[in-house]
Symmetry: C2
Subunit: 193 residues, 2 copies
Amino acid sequence: MKELMNSIVEKGTILGEGILKVDSFLNHQVDPELMYQIGESFAQKFNDRHVTKVVTIEASGIAPALTTAQALGVPMIYARKTKSITMNSELLTTEVYSFTKQVTSTISISKHFLNEEDNVLLIDDFLANGQAAKGLIELVEQAGANVVGVGILIEKSYQQGRALLNDMGVEVVSLARIASMVEGEVEFLEADL
Amino acid sequence: MKELMNSIVEKGTILGEGILKVDSFLNHQVDPELMYQIGESFAQKFNDRHVTKVVTIEASGIAPALTTAQALGVPMIYARKTKSITMNSELLTTEVYSFTKQVTSTISISKHFLNEEDNVLLIDDFLANGQAAKGLIELVEQAGANVVGVGILIEKSYQQGRALLNDMGVEVVSLARIASMVEGEVEFLEADL
């Protein structure tokens, strides 16, 4: 998606150790117009897949998941990383390992909001090792619901996430696919949209 | 705001100890159409106040802050509760005490995204004791920016939040004002919008 790749080139910063900083438009300060365009793109792509819920994980997935859900006319659910005091009902839970932070955390979704009738589109901002998306897929499958695909804003294509999800039988649609970040320059593969 | 109050009555649940559970449409599963209407309402209210940024706090503030920012045509910023690995720049930080959780946490915003030219509209989902909103005001003031007001979805009007913020000279605009939650029934005051 051209608008997103332009924002990455113009506003992103490459830090050491393969870290792309996009906090001026994506995951701290957020560009609402870009999020709106992203939502329209995902909705158009998955329009004929009978999506009933859009699911993401707090916090940085919420903005693009909301605009996608709005464009599809369905509810959005964000998995929580901490248990809320009002989440007293039964939960779908799984463990997610973060290679970046080297910690395992528990993510959860209330059982009330997913069931075997649901066709779920997963949305997340980054795909690298695929552990967060894998955790979301596990939550959806625990509910007996169907995953129609995973929509990713920025894929680090030199890591294993896409292969992992494809091996699970899940389609991945990425708006920007990064081949490499060398000498402060981002090189892209052809994106899915 | 009638649509929000209807959702609270129809889909909210009162738990013990004054806790209103709204996780089916607001802070776990999210109703995008309602968020869109909320954003339009706040934008209309603050339309002539030259808002340059909408600021909230992760995670449950992100959805209504995004739609408000979109309607106003300005960026949205969410204060973070944990320090991200890409937030290596100088930070505005303050402490927020949660009466509910009885813990003090640090919230932060990068100094890059707020300056003395900014007119900031704060958005949050709940106003009870006002500590989170007070923390956001402190961050904005550290940047030398101006707070034009605080937009709240659900105000617990029997608590001290509104008085605290008004004493700080800040206007509060709440879409639903709860007078009491007795015997499983929510009673509303007249809302600001």
